[in-house]
Assembly symmetry: C2
Homo-oligomer: 250 residues x 2
DNA sequence: CCAAAAGTGTTTAAAATACACCCATGC
DNA sequence: GCATGGGTGTATTTTAAACACTTTTGG
């Protein structure tokens, strides 16, 4: 795939890449989809390049779809990363050899790159991590992220930081949870993102007062203990709140 | 200046630019520093290119310093803009002729450009808009911004939107006001950014409770009516709040 | 029947809002 | 002296925080 790009490097925006921080929620863990290029001992964020005839947001959607198979997810640009030496020494002869890349063509990869960071919220269960021929894709708990290449750790941290901030400005669950979910599950999501416990009763009141939840006439099956009610989002109201924001401070 | 860049275009990151939305506050107006290239009838945001050996943030600081002369101001990246056709047809033969640019060299300018948006908050009075040989720089009330080139209006709108949101997450006045200022002035600043009236008494309580203001033993001179007290910011506490944020919602 | 999780209400504290009076100054 | 803007306090409403009991279910 990289070779395809290098054969047509004039069709790509030079020196500019996209890296996606793809968040999913499962087993009460906030997970991040990471990529490992075979024989490399570091992991990386799924990324890609920008076709010269595609909007940057479109290119980001493409990266996301290639990696997760899901469509119509929440995707938001959160920053550009462009320290001079961020990709210095990343591609060298050894790497080109292992990836079977002609070093002459590979030069395109050794130029200075600025990368655009996008973060995505996806439904873990609808998502099939897409491993390529030379690489492995895997969900990893954000608390157990191994060493990453380049400045990808910094990018990931910024993404999480942005997500935490945006949690105060917009609702979030729609993209990370299945269509039907319980309030305790939603609360766990919030607790996991914020990394602290919330009071059950106060959370219930606050989240229901926003007016984006619909209580269904079903309870969750096959659970130990008292069965919690299922809810879904009122998409229309959800989108309205997404647009207008919550918690206006002044 | 453009010719200097074109003579050394290999020293610049290709297809990537920086545009700055520089905000200042004066006469109870939120002003934006805009540039007009002579003989062109549209205005534009002050922008620049990224030296291949400079961090993107450093390049943004350079653009800002060139245009305003101020240093150490608040500067924050708020987005990348990269629709495919955003700079299509922007530079043509006519433009090259009027700018005395060799069309062959000028080709570098006609490639597809992605731009990084930064917004800056600067002290209006310390700022000298820096006009170049071929262009004029001018402070313009954000409510009276004329037609802008390319997608600069979109960039400006996004900057203002970001500023409004960040007003709920961080204090702001330090960069936009002179060292000594009055509470009513600070309130006007907030009102101008938010585009609505705030209650005087409630604003006073809220802003003083943040704990970033120092009341000075002076009053403002030469004013009609009762002289308001002067205040300054406690920079240490201000920076602390900047870092930790205010109004945590959950 | 009991442990574990879920549903819900009440009391208290804090914050936001609404509102009113007095003070200083220029004209 | 009066219009205008500035300083400050209080009462009320709203929202957030703290907290406890009852219900349901599987084992």
């Amino acid at each position: 795939m990289l070779n395809d790009i290098l054969d047509n490097s004039h069709n790509y925006q030079p020196g500019l890449s996209i890296d996606c921080v793809i968040f999913g929620f499962h087993d009460n863990q906030l997970k991040v989809l990471l990529i490992k290029v075979n024989q490399n001992n570091k992991w990386s964020l799924p990324g890609g390049f920008i076709p010269i005839n595609e909007d940057i947001d479109t290119a980001a959607v493409t990266v996301l779809n290639q990696r997760t198979g899901v469509e119509g997810v929440f995707l938001r640009q959160f920053g550009a990363f462009g320290n001079v030496k961020r990709n210095e020494h990343h591609f060298d002869k050894k790497v080109f050899k292992s990836l079977k890349i002609d070093p002459e063509k590979g030069k395109w990869l050794t130029q200075r790159f600025v990368t655009l960071g996008y973060y995505a919220l996806v439904d873990f269960l609808k998502t099939i991590p897409n491993s390529g021929q030379y690489e492995t894709a895997e969900w990893i708990d954000h608390k157990e992220v191994p060493e990453l290449i380049l400045d990808h750790k910094e990018i990931l941290d910024k993404a999480l930081d942005t997500l935490r901030t945006e949690l105060n400005l917009m609702p979030v669950g729609y993209n990370l949870l299945p269509e039907k979910f319980t309030i305790p599950e939603l609360q766990k999501l919030y607790e996991t993102i914020l990394d602290r416990k919330l009071d059950r009763r106060n959370f219930f009141r606050k989240i229901t007062n926003i007016g984006i939840l619909v209580k269904l006439d079903e309870k969750k099956n096959n659970v130990a203990h008292k069965a919690p009610y299922l809810y879904s989002f009122d998409k229309e109201k959800y989108d309205e709140v997404l647009k207008n924001g919550l918690n206006q401070g002044w």
